[in-house]
Symmetry: C2
Subunit: 469 residues, 2 copies
């Protein structure tokens, strides 16, 4: 029987012989080598020809029948169904290189947004995670709701009060899979057709892309060393504003109270929400943490917080403080976006907060990062003497650096990369290009003091070689 | 000094005295009780009046200055800034009831999509999770990429081959936070303005809402006991199709090969993708698992898989198999939606797959669920004798049940709930209402044999009381 010759069985395959027979016959039906109406051999015959057990032949026929490739159950006479013809198409294969993301090995890595993972108490965290997972009630292994675990929402509220003086109802706090997700979903809720969104210029390019991806009309508002320049604000047609008032990204300003008040008055007049991204206000090195804009108006401001920088990015836990009237929409949207966060990390984080381990970790890291910032500044002074100026508040994990009269563009960044230095021109984060060409952004949180010193020396050598100093 | 009388300090508060002073003064400035240009008392004077240390007074003034409420550093004469006036607005408070989601206690809970958690080897999983987290390289505590961990992608590819005969390049597999997220983001990629999406009618209402939330035009195509009725298909203006060919949700049919081929031919002709949601094909009780549509055409079909039903919903891990030309867009979108999955559960799952524990768990659960299905059917026979018919394939965690001539509407479901029975009329999942009024959907996977028997008896009593039998 011709059609059985085409079947090659692999006796040592992980695939059952029945599935191999099924796949081969199915292939022949789709190609037309087995034609509609054709009668297949009996299971006895097939078993004999292919030297398999009768059961195996039976199982293969059962699969073909279940999926409608044949018209009758094995046992009776088995015919090929009609309408199975399907041309083979060429498939686009992956390119051969498997490496994917090449993990570049920088001599100096000034990337932003990277906390120091070497100082995170991993063993302690793993213990908490293990205990939290162990104690998790069985019902929370199912669905536990789009809001997040109640215990975590309560602990975050308590922490916001003791660390920032914020009084928040735990029921207004919604756990997210990070700040990016918060913005990604808020964009869907807040912006109706044709509405515009106010954004700082420069701002975090990744977050800008989130908003642009939703098709929103972006109104860039210039930033100076105190943050958003509120005199450029116009509320006409605005659906929302997205800002970083505690520590402007990337230039580092603290938005002054009068500008905050002006923005809030505008948002009330034109009835739009302000999304406050408080991405790293925990790390302020001179003086107390800055109070969030949210503390001035809890009805107009949506507060976005994250633990990615405080703890570690892989945690994927952030939170939102939402005005009551948006909460039902948020629940609906989160349920239909990705349902909820996993509960285990949430429970571990709740315990980390409850036992004040978070507070201690922040105190420890504030000291470490503050030291690193001082080392960075003194290294700059040593290497570059006087032709530079640090922007913004003494806070966060990166520094915006101005070299008056110099120009840092894409080409500069590319040449620096070739030299082994990963560094971001401020212009990379600009919407209206060219406004901050004389600044570069140095992420230093993840670098120890020696790495900072060596990195700045290397940066200096590179700039000298390229006549940029 | 009048303005100091307003400051009441709480000596036992978690808030520092400095922050309390700062908050009180800030409030007075925003209300206009402290006016622009007004000179504040010296730190010495303030400290004396409020009976706090000079340092505390200094710290409070430093906060006011840092945030721009005052115009000069503490030490020199401190004046109130201008433009701080902000009316108090009334805030919408949460209603008093804190309970949130009342966990209703059903006498018979036939909800769908709930796996049996009591049979999941929790301790074993927790050990794997702990070991995986312990062995996690430090760099994966940072960002590990929108694709998911390479080891998990490889193990899923190996498992798809040995369990379903699918040959998949691990690089085509993308880890998701579940099937809902896969659809939520695919909708953004696939559908351009004005394009339509083919959907089975009835289909999973939650998934339908995901698609509707994106503003897509839905084309419902009727379903019979073999699934999507391909003779109703029209490819004109179609941007995609979303279907459940292995086990139609909720009616349970296996889409026959000829309809599969017809759908694939149409998708090639009109150049649209087919999203295949393979949500519970692992649990088939008579015969081998059904081969995915993906196995017939890996270029036209996007395969969506999930571990929520196989393991437990709180895991929040699913996966996609994507055609090469969509992969860059997917990476970009995932990065700007929620960045990535947490890595710990991914690594634990990879080990669960590598050590074949997943295969064993599926075998065990297939036997348990299969038994439950038989108990369900025999209970139905016992209680209802002959006036009913089970739809679809012997698979999955729920059963679609037809009572010819009967009508199950919203009102029926509401009265059943009052009676203590949670049950879903098939009509609930219908887009064109009224087509499947004579069917109800019974989720049984999470119920043990006694719960099933008691539940069916209760359902029978309820229907008899309401003259529905």
């Amino acid at each position: 029987m011709k059609y059985m010759l085409g079947i090659k069985l692999e006796r040592n395959s992980q695939l059952s012989l029945a599935r191999q027979i099924y796949q081969a016959m199915r292939e022949q039906m789709m190609r037309g080598q087995l034609e509609p109406g054709e009668v297949l051999p009996s299971t006895r015959e097939l078993a004999k020809q292919l030297a398999v057990s009768r059961n195996t032949a039976y199982e293969a026929y059962d699969m073909l029948f279940a999926e409608g490739f044949t018209l009758s159950r094995p046992g009776s006479s088995t015919r090929v169904a009609s309408g199975l013809r399907l041309e083979k198409t060429s498939t686009t294969k992956q390119p051969v290189d498997m490496s994917g993301a090449k993990s570049a090995c920088w001599k100096a890595d000034f990337r932003t947004g990277r906390p120091e993972l070497r100082c995170f108490p991993q063993q302690l965290w793993l213990q908490l995670l293990h205990r939290a997972a162990h104690d998790m009630p069985l019902k929370q292994w199912s669905y536990s709701g789009p809001e997040g675990l109640p215990i975590l929402r309560e602990e975050i509220a308590a922490w916001l009060f003791r660390s920032k003086g914020l009084e928040v109802d735990p029921r207004d706090i919604f756990i997210t899979a990070g700040a990016t997700q918060a913005l990604h979903l808020l964009a869907d809720i807040l912006f109706q057709e044709g509405k515009k969104i106010i954004v700082e210029d420069p701002c975090h390019l990744g977050m800008l892309r989130v908003l642009q991806g939703k098709g929103l009309v972006i109104i860039p508002v210039p930033v100076d060393q105190h943050g958003l320049k509120s005199e450029f604000l116009d509320g006409e047609g605005v659906g929302a504003a997205y800002i970083t008032p505690s520590h402007q990204f990337p230039l580092g300003g603290i938005l002054p109270a009068s500008r905050r008040a002006a923005l809030l008055r505008l948002s009330r007049e034109y009835n739009f929400y302000i999304i406050e991204d408080d991405y790293d206000s925990e790390f302020r090195y001179e003086g107390a943490p800055v109070a969030p804009l949210y503390s001035m108006d809890s009805q107009q401001v949506i507060y976005v917080g994250t633990f990615s920088k405080i703890l570690f990015p892989a945690l994927r836990i952030g939170y939102l403080i939402l005005p009551y009237k948006m909460q039902e929409q948020w629940r609906y949207l989160r349920t239909h976006a990705d349902v909820q966060n996993p509960p285990f990390e949430q429970a571990a984080l709740a315990e980390y907060l409850r036992s004040r381990k978070l507070d201690r970790h922040i105190r420890k890291m504030r000291k470490i990062y503050g030291d690193r910032r001082r080392v960075l500044l003194s290294s700059l002074e040593e290497c570059f003497s006087k032709g530079w100026r640090a922007w913004g508040d003494a806070a966060g994990l990166h520094l915006a650096l101005e070299f008056p009269g110099r120009s840092f563009d894409r080409d500069f960044a590319a040449r620096a990369r070739e030299y082994g230095i990963c560094i971001t021109p401020a212009d990379y984060h600009s919407i209206s290009k060219g406004m901050h060409l004389d600044k570069i952004i140095l992420g230093y949180g993840h670098l120890d003091n020696d790495e900072i010193r060596a990195g700045i020396r290397l940066l200096h050598d590179f700039m000298e070689e390229h006549h940029l100093t």
